[in-house]
């Protein structure tokens, strides 16, 4: 089943963004910017693309979502909760003592989190391994791996890109949330990774780039295309805006890993009303 079919995704993303801001404000730490740039991508994956069932998180035939940019747990937890994996109320425990919702992804905490992350660059390899295991077990499910554009600095990403192509792995969909900002600065100033599309093509991938990552229809069309690629791994590069949805956070490197203060929080929630 596709759990979210029929869900109003526009309203879904608005609820997720509000959760993201509340969680990070509540914890006074966490990563808003990269969560807001990925919000539509996750909403479409869980609402339109992935074969999954929140009531059976260990279903062997499920599609898997691998969060490689493991600092963006706010959007991951909010999406899982809004999809029915666990109660929305639990989101308020984010990063607090005794919580299941750690600052960075931990496999199985809560159910629906498929990998441990936080050190960047490992998710594509982990997803590749999952897909190889599925192939061996004759499971025709998909693996979707979400990476950041700053994450493309990591050499391991390219080891995985090479190996996925070498082994002729399909139903492996890599997604880059190209928001243009990493921890310290804009990605272009930190380490030049472009042209990413040409690089992945040279590594043997089917690639679509230049897609508006905040246009729900465009996101769905691109991910549906990637889902149906056969014989090769597929990549979609979404152009996104870090901090999307809150004017003063948008494209602002200061909101990579910083929490809003009380006044900023009030303004943000007003904008997301």
């Amino acid at each position: 089943m596709v759990a979210g079919t029929g869900t109003d995704l526009r309203a879904f993303t608005q609820r997720v963004r509000r959760h993201v801001v509340e969680m990070v404000y509540g914890a006074q730490s966490g990563h808003i910017g990269g969560s807001m740039s990925s919000t539509e991508i996750l909403a479409v994956l869980y609402g339109r693309i992935m074969r999954h069932d929140p009531k059976r998180p260990d279903w062997a035939e499920r599609d898997r979502f691998v969060m490689s940019k493991g600092h963006c747990t706010p959007v991951q937890y909010a999406t899982l909760a809004e999809s029915g994996y666990f109660p929305v109320e639990e989101l308020s425990t984010f990063r607090k003592k005794g919580t299941r919702l750690q600052g960075h992804s931990v496999l199985g905490k809560p159910e629906g989190v498929e990998n441990s992350a936080g050190a960047l660059g490992m998710g594509l390899s982990f997803g590749l391994g999952i897909r190889l295991g599925m192939r061996l077990s004759n499971i025709d499910a998909h693996v979707y791996v979400l990476m950041g554009d700053g994450e493309q600095d990591e050499g391991q990403v390219w080891e995985a890109a090479m190996a996925a192509s070498h082994h002729g792995v399909d139903r492996l969909v890599a997604i880059i949330d190209r928001n243009g900002i990493q921890n310290d600065d804009f990605t272009a100033a930190t380490m030049r990774t472009e042209p990413l599309d040409e690089k992945y093509r040279a590594f043997g991938w089917e690639v679509r780039a230049g897609i508006d990552g905040h246009n729900l229809e465009a996101v769905e069309e691109a991910l549906a295309w990637a889902r149906d690629v056969r014989g090769k791994p597929a990549l979609v590069i979404f152009d996104t805006v870090k901090g999307k949805g809150v004017s003063f956070m948008e494209n602002n490197p200061n909101f990579h890993g910083a929490a809003p203060n009380a006044e900023q929080f009030a303004r943000a929630m007003e904008e997301l009303a």
């Binding site: 691998v66 931990v106 496999l107 199985g108 498929e114 990998n115 441990s116 992350a117 936080g118 050190a119 660059g121 490992m122 998710g123 390899s125 982990f126 997803g127 590749l128 391994g129 999952i130 897909r131 190889l132 295991g133 599925m134 061996l136 077990s137 499971i139 050499g155 391991q156 080891e159 995985a160 090479m162 190996a163 070498h166 082994h167």
Partner: protein, 317 residues
């Protein structure tokens, strides 16, 4: 146990054939390899089960994270490379295997300094310290090829992350009557009253010979094969301290972070700590020479163990 005229084999030779046998008997094994399958014997498995063998090229980091992903499907994943190159993927071992407690068995050959001629870069003096620092890992070092086979079989049968360090040179087989390996249990190969020699890997056979030499001069030495580095058999160490009053730890690894350090921590926590001496690599890297010569340069010899035993016995008087 006598140490004369023993057959010889390298512990690395155990991996491939053992995996083939286990797979033929119904296991669900997948092997991931980083372009060293000929040397580690993993290729034997590829030849028998090519669809269950994935090469990742010379890319250990990708291999280890992918191994974690593969293990989530329920397969027993065996990752094969050299010990020094397994170290190359430490963060991947931590994040993609240890923390999520996935069923990945890293079986790394060419452990220790007995890789010989290849020199310092190929000689892992710190590998099992690193693996022992990873929570959830079981860490083993076989004393001979028979024990190596038993360890590989135990690893495949037991859920969770494992590290098994095997070696390059042909060394004497001491378990000629079959393996006695039990996870987390030291194996007493020889009992004694004056000192206990705790050893792993190729130092076990050397320690047995040292015990024979000590016997000739009236020192009675117990020899424990500590095949499991983690979890450590603390009960056997406590008994050794109580029964013999002195302990030597002998290993092919840095002493300050290896089996010696771990045994010392365990002994220090007992009610009656005893004098200890440490035979191993003393805060240095290796160099090129034949494997036997490198062991001699490092003092990892029968004479080295014997001298440490005499010293520690003298300290208790």
């Amino acid at each position: 146990m006598t140490t004369t005229n023993l057959p010889a084999a390298a512990t690395r030779e155990a991996l491939g054939p053992t995996l083939v046998r286990l797979q033929q008997n119904g296991a669900d094994i997948v092997v991931v390899d980083a372009d060293l399958g000929k040397s580690t014997s993993a290729r034997t498995f590829r030849d028998a089960f090519p669809e269950r063998f994935f090469t990742f090229g010379v890319a250990e980091q990708n291999m280890i994270s992918a191994a974690g992903g593969l293990a989530t499907l329920g397969h027993v994943v065996v990752a094969s490379t050299f010990a020094v190159f397994a170290e190359h993927a430490f963060d991947q071992l931590r994040m993609s295997v240890a923390q999520p407690k996935l069923n990945v068995k890293v079986v790394a050959s060419h452990g220790g300094v007995s890789t010989g001629e290849d020199g310092a870069s190929a000689q892992s003096v710190e590998d099992y310290a690193l693996f022992s620092s990873l929570v959830n890992f079981t860490v083993c070092v076989p004393a001979d090829v028979v024990e190596a086979e038993a360890m590989v079989a135990a690893a495949v049968a037991t859920p969770g992350p494992w590290y098994i360090r095997t070696g390059r040179p042909k060394i004497p087989v001491i378990y000629t009557d079959g393996p006695r390996f039990q996870i987390g249990k030291a194996d007493m190969l020889r009992d004694g009253t004056d000192v206990t020699i705790v050893a792993c890997g190729l130092l076990v056979e050397r320690s047995l010979r040292a015990a024979e030499a000590l016997q000739a001069s009236g020192i009675s030495a117990r020899v424990l094969n500590m095949g499991t580095i983690r979890p450590l058999d603390v009960a056997a160490l406590e008994a050794a301290a109580k029964d013999t009053g002195a302990i030597v730890v002998a290993e092919e690894h840095l002493t300050h972070s290896g089996l010696g350090a771990m045994c010392a921590q365990a002994i220090a926590a007992t009610t009656q700590p005893v004098p200890m001496e440490f035979v191993g690599v003393q805060s240095r890297y290796g160099e090129s020479a034949t494997w036997d010569e490198v062991l001699e340069i490092m003092g990892l010899t029968v004479e080295g163990v014997e001298a440490a035993a005499r010293k520690v016995v003298a300290r208790k008087r």
